[in-house]
């Protein structure tokens, strides 16, 4: 199976029904995408397909087709991605850090479609991503800082 991951063609030997999450983590060694709930509740496994955030645990690898996959390992190829990463570091957003890859992928998609998000926009775009440490105050602030950068 051929996939396009972070701008590069990649050959993946995986069962067609294997979720993209596990193909990335176990088959390809891209462990930045995280397993949280395996059922689409938490957003830890958020990646982008053609720029749209999707749940890696709910996306069979066979369903990806020619869509371009962006994972946390490829986020800095995006200007918004870099601004978000810098804001995350500047505002010291993470506690345990486990959810932050998914948060960043969701936030990048938000800023690409809505460069000056309101609080309501942030709520709508980010509420699918659980931060168990509840760093929401800083995630919100960092999205705004990246938007202003």
């Amino acid at each position: 199976m051929k996939l396009n991951i972070n701008g590069k063609p990649v050959e993946v030997a995986a069962d067609p029904d294997m979720p993209l999450l596990w193909a990335l983590r176990d088959v390809l060694g891209l462990t930045g995408t995280k397993f949280g709930c395996g059922a689409g509740f938490c957003g830890a496994c958020t990646v982008q397909l053609d720029g749209e955030p999707v749940r890696g645990c709910q996306t069979p690898v066979s369903a990806v087709g020619t869509a371009k996959i962006t994972t946390i390992e490829g986020l800095s190829a995006s200007a918004w991605g870099r601004k978000l990463q810098d804001a995350w570091v500047a505002l010291d957003v993470p506690q345990c850090g486990y959810c932050q890859a998914g948060q960043l992928l969701a936030a990048e998609a938000l800023l690409r479609s809505t460069p000056k998000p309101t609080d309501a926009d942030i709520d709508a775009a980010m509420s699918g991503n659980i931060c168990r440490c509840a760093t929401y105050t800083r995630i919100r602030a960092a999205i705004k800082q990246a938007a202003a950068a």
Binding site: A14, D15, M18, P19, W22, R25, D26, V27, G29, L30, T31, G32, T33, K34, F35, G36, G38, A39, F41, C42, A44, T71, I72, E73, L75, S76, L84, Q85, W88, V89, A90, D92, V93, P94, Q95, C96, G97, Y98, C99, Q100, A101, L104, I122, D123, A124, M126, S127, G128, N129, I130, C131, R132, C133, A134, T135, Y136, T137, R138, I139, R140
Partner: protein
């Protein structure tokens, strides 16, 4: 190597490490580590190229300790933070002393110790420079990893003298001068987490990210009822799943209890089951599901939340198993003569840690050696438990401490490490064991639920003169589990002189454990709520009433005879009503307590002392006609002593604790049916999300007391303040967690 005046480099390094630690005889180097050039102790290594390497030895679970502890060392070493590279440590008590992320204990127990480690290394560098330059050590100044002698105009980098400093006889730490806090350049500032860049770029940091050559992935089929027995399994179906490489039968073990650090058995029993080995986690889990195991029985099969609820109600109606379990003064007599009596019943459920990184462990067992890669809060416990389970020597078990994707107390327990080790031993190759979310809920070490029937006596002015609690919670053999104690460390014991607690113990076989601000996270809801009840009965205002309850500023000793697990680290510690009054007044001022609010909007106030920290908060919330609650703002005032180690991390911990606690109060509950946990995933166990996270404003009061920890004590007082806000908004007092907002509809 030139060794002019010391018997051996290794002995010097041992001495240096001991001197640096000051408190532990075990902080020494192994022979191998002693050969590290520029090593001044196990914690400070100065490379010839100028890099300052500081070891972060405590388990990182999101509390920021990989940043805050090196900050303490760097401050006294007198280097700039940007010159520091933080390096990880393995789990090895013999080198690093206690390595434990629990009880918010790291900062209070090690703040001075870490500073002295840095100061000892600086001392050795200064002495080396004095010798080299032939000048008095007292004339040498330092800063930014440089040594200066003003009179002779000489300067050197730490790196230039590190090799020589390693030979200096280490100082007696008692004579070491520490910096005056007014000179702090790193401590008390905002320093970002050392792993932040790696986190935002997706680098492998966590236990779950471990990948080893030849590693197989494992899922473990075990009974959802704790220690149920395997009746049947479709092994052929599992083996037919593409990618499944083999099955391993795991036998139940009940011989694994051992002395560990955290006041509970680290593993109750290893349940029997079948480990599925595969080429991916996905295949292993598919294979596990294909087994379609049928289980029967199990020690916990009797467990039922409905039955427990009925038993608690019955106990409250008919009387306690253990009358007078705790008895200070004479509460019954005071109640009999009280001008007014107030009574109420409170309850709270089991809750789960629900840490986001599901439980996993990677193990490789080779002959008489085992190596594990763990997200754990207690690496030394894991080491001992694995050694016991495999019949190995403790020193033959190596623990690689990985970053934890959340702990909250779950990873104080190392049942998963034992499972992985046992499976890996049978597999003969490296194994990564992965639980799924359902197993994470099913086999957690839960915060126990509890029920309180309270009665208070008020005097003619409405002041509380007696407090009587009948506490129902869980344990075994008629004894409360350590995570469900009621003891003298818990307010208002001590503050209210006539205090009595009766106890009834309900039996449980599932595992109970420590969860963020254990015990306190439940009791604060009860005690602060009941203080509101008393205030209302007395016709008094909640803030003023709380001031009256606290009374004149004084230090009340925590009764030692009742100090259980919550009191363990508080022995000899007073409950300082003045410090509590300080945070209470501060938070009221921050929130503008008493402001006029629109209809169906209210404010609640609460305080609680736990983990040596004094916290008060105000919650402002509104209640819609359909009962839904919106939290608009939370204010927190905290007194954790003189210094805030890392202002950025500290504020983050408090804000996170508050929002976490709101999430728990508004929806989290674990229930049992037919012996097993009913909740399977975050769909039926809601965590706080962005759209419900209010602004949280935090103020730290600096008081003249030792600095204490922050991972936990901000949590307990949130739920009662929210309940207070709901009461003010609606006139309805919700006395059961999670708060049933359907009762608030109009």
């Amino acid at each position: 190597m030139n060794a002019p005046f010391t018997p051996s480099r290794r002995q010097v390094l041992q001495a240096a490490a001991v001197a640096g630690g000051g408190l532990s005889l075990g902080w020494r180097f192994s022979g191998a580590k002693a050969s590290v050039p520029g090593a001044l102790s196990a914690f400070v290594i100065i490379d010839a190229n100028g890099a300052i390497r500081i070891t972060a030895h405590q388990p990182e679970i999101g509390q920021g300790v990989r940043t805050s502890f090196p900050m303490m060392i760097a401050e006294e070493l007198d280097v700039d933070w940007k010159q520091v590279t933080v390096v990880p440590a393995p789990g090895d008590r013999s080198v690093y002393g206690v390595q434990l992320a629990g009880g918010s204990s790291a900062t209070p127990t090690q703040f001075e110790r870490m500073r002295r480690l840095g100061a000892a290394a600086r001392y050795m560098l200064v002495q080396a420079a004095a010798k080299e330059w032939g000048v008095p050590a007292g004339e040498i100044t330092t800063g930014s990893a440089m040594l200066h002698h003003a009179a002779s105009g000489r300067s050197a980098r730490y790196a230039d003298l590190a090799e020589k400093a390693a030979w200096i006889t280490p100082p007696d730490v008692k004579t070491l001068a520490l910096k005056d806090p007014s000179q702090f350049k790193i401590l008390g500032t905002r320093i970002g987490g050392v792993d932040n860049r790696a986190i935002v770029t997706g680098k492998p940091l966590f236990g779950i990210d471990t990948r080893l050559p030849g590693m197989v992935y494992a899922a473990f089929a075990k009974s959802p009822v704790f220690c149920g027995k395997l009746k049947s399994a479709n092994r052929a179906a599992a083996l037919a799943v593409p990618g499944v490489k083999g099955l391993i039968n795991i036998a139940e073990r009940r011989d694994l209890k051992t002395e560990i650090d955290v006041g509970l058995p680290g593993i109750e029993k290893l349940p029997e089951g079948i480990a599925v080995l595969a080429t991916s986690t996905w295949a292993a889990m598919k294979g596990r599901d294909a087994l379609a195991c049928v289980w029967e029985g199990g020690d916990a099969a009797f467990q039922s939340s409905t039955a427990w609820e009925a038993a608690a109600k019955k106990a409250h109606a008919e009387g306690p198993q253990k009358p007078g379990y705790m008895n200070h003064g004479n509460a019954p007599a005071k109640l009999a003569t009280a001008a007014k009596k107030v009574s109420a019943e409170y309850s709270y459920p089991f809750i789960s840690h629900a840490q986001l990184e599901p439980i996993n462990a990677t193990a490789h067992v080779k002959g008489d050696k085992a190596e594990l890669w763990l997200s754990t809060q207690t690496p030394e416990d894991a080491r001992r438990m694995v050694a016991l389970a495999l019949g190995l020597k403790v020193e033959d078990v190596t623990i690689h401490m990985m970053r934890s994707g959340g702990g909250f107390g779950r990873r104080l327990m190392n049942d998963f490490a034992v499972e992985a080790a046992v499976i890996a031993k049978a597999a003969g190759v490296p194994v990564k064991l992965q639980w799924d979310r359902g197993q994470d809920f099913a086999h957690d070490w839960l915060r126990p639920g509890g029920w309180h029937k309270l009665e208070a006596g008020l005097d003619a002015d409405g002041n509380i003169i007696a407090w009587h609690d009948h506490f129902v919670s869980f344990g075994k053999d008629g004894k409360l589990n350590p995570t469900a104690v009621i003891d003298g460390s818990l307010f208002p014991s001590g503050v209210i002189k006539d205090f009595r607690a009766d106890v009834t113990v309900l039996p449980i076989e599932s595992t109970l454990g420590w969860l963020r601000a254990p015990i306190n996270n439940a009791f604060a809801f009860v005690t602060q709520g009941f203080i509101d009840d008393c205030a209302i009965a007395a016709g008094r205002e909640p803030l003023e009433y709380r001031r009256a309850v606290l009374g004149t500023p004084r230090a009340i000793p925590i009764a030692e005879e009742f100090s259980g697990e919550t009191g363990e680290d508080m022995k000899g510690t007073p409950y300082n009503t003045g410090r509590m009054r300080g945070v209470l007044d501060k938070v009221a001022e921050m929130a503008g307590w008493g402001r006029k609010l629109p209809p169906r909007r209210g404010m609640g106030i609460a305080f609680h002392f736990s983990h040596l920290g004094y916290f008060a908060n105000v919650v402002e919330a509104s209640v819609a006609n359909d009962g839904s609650v919106t939290v608009h703002h939370v204010w927190v005032a905290a007194d954790i002593g003189k210094h805030i180690v890392n202002l950025s991390g500290a504020e983050n911990q408090v804000q996170g604790s508050v929002i976490d606690a709101l999430g728990a109060a508004l929806g989290q509950r674990i229930t049992f049916a037919d012996g097993a946990v009913e909740q399977k995933n975050y769909g039926d166990y809601p965590l706080a999300r962005m759209d419900m996270a209010p602004p949280v404003e935090v103020a730290f009061l600096s008081t003249d007391y030792p600095t204490t920890g922050l991972g936990e004590p901000a949590y307990p007082s949130v739920a009662p303040a929210l309940a207070g806000a709901i009461y003010q908004a609606t006139g309805k007092r919700l006395r059961s967690l999670p708060l049933d907002t359907s009762l608030l509809t109009v």
